[in-house]
Symmetry: D2
């Protein structure tokens, strides 16, 4: 199980969720390292896990509450390459802004020595299936806030 991160190691970033994965062969490219677009897939895994740990899952958000969170901006800064079969640690934190903007920040580390491989942010708006903006239902806002306070 992921152990809590010492505050100093995360910079000043309070993190809300941590998840692990192992680099797949399919994720490497001919430079022998993980292809850069895959880090955005890992970020998605991190934010889904944060939502899950906050007590709800993205699947039912979509199906039951018609609540989607399309990305409006994504940034990733690459520090060191991830390689095939590395175990990867994804730390994710989130903030809700004005009720309809959801921001996530990510730190991607090599689990074996906790080297920081990449860090990034994504910003999302809450929409319905037709991509019309809507407020994040109160239960989700509360769950995220509870999660943030429990750190």
């Amino acid at each position: 199980m992921p152990e809590p991160l010492p505050a100093a190691q995360a910079g000043s970033l309070p993190f809300a969720a941590e998840t692990r994965l192992r680099v797949r062969y399919a994720e490497t490219d001919q430079m022998g390292v993980v292809y850069y677009a895959n880090y955005l897939i890992w970020m998605e895994i991190g934010r889904v896990e944060l939502l899950r740990q906050a007590g709800f899952d993205y699947k039912s958000m979509e199906l039951e509450d018609d609540c989607h969170i399309p990305v409006v901006e994504a940034t990733c800064r690459y520090k060191a390459p991830a390689r095939y079969d590395d175990e990867i640690l994804i730390q994710t934190t989130s903030t809700v802004l004005r009720g309809y903007i959801l921001k996530f920040a990510y730190r991607i580390l090599r689990a074996s020595d906790r080297t920081l491989l990449a860090e990034g942010e994504t910003a999302h708006v809450i929409t319905d299936r037709q991509m019309q903006r809507k407020l994040l239902p109160e239960k989700y806002v509360m769950a995220l806030n509870r999660k943030a306070k429990s750190l």
Copy 2:
């Protein structure tokens, strides 16, 4: 433009559509060749192009006719590796069986010297959005047959 293939080169396979693409960096893996799952993505490009050349497109099949063609079997035999930036030629042929089974056969070649890189087949059933089997609408059967006869 793709010129017709001499009969001998295609084995006995009459082909109905040909399309080209260039290998993306993202498609390579750390062996320096195209990762094997990507050939199935290329096959999909080949069959979409065959449908397009037969006079209809898969997008409207899904949206207007609620007609989907989920795959039930896929096979690929790998002969020689495709590499980054290679221009790839995909030759696709199709058959309709019993009105609800659609089969495609593919040959994937390196365009520069026409080396056969891979060949394969996929089998599909016709379904609606809820994955219930249905007959391929007559207009599609006719279009595919017309295309086959025009060879």
Copy 3:
């Protein structure tokens, strides 16, 4: 054409390794199910795990023994769709033929109710980095056989 597996192997398949993963959002397509090429990525995860459980890993096979296992054939039969966030179980078994052919068989199940979603096979040849065929080093053959006998 892929020849049918012996009935016993396809039915009550003795499996040598089992691994789990969770369906990623990136793996779905607009039909709302997992895109078919991704099953080949999952098969790769299954066979890597089998090798790991047999006591060695593919990474060191490549780096230390210059021993690669490019695929020469892959087949997948799709039974039922996998969906976003499903937990997936991959069961993998292997056979070494003539010292330089490695075959894997896979069963892909939904973990929650053990529904069979897909099954397939891949065949590989052992090569060096230059794609020249070579025998699988004895230690790997022995490890795989040990694993098979320990079932």
Copy 4:
């Protein structure tokens, strides 16, 4: 944080290369739109094409000049969704900084009506195969500058 592009560059961006592609089924996700990580793959296609149009290709940069351009930062702002089968236009421009930093800016449009779907930037350092920083060989700098001036 990514600093804002100068207004002129973001608005009436002078572009140095343009390339087209068609959205693949594999690139969609269950929201029915292109999954966000794929835009980074498209950006790579844009910058490879810019290099090609400037008279050299990335493949020989890697093989002959041991000159790699790993990404150090990538940003994408998503404006409107790309959908299956859309024809996509990628406009790419580049700048060389201090001889070892290469920046690209991208605009991704729907070809049919030139709607801006996304825009972004990537920053790269020039390295050898061992990821050690090196200067971009003079011939490449000159080719990129020539291309920029020929606008």
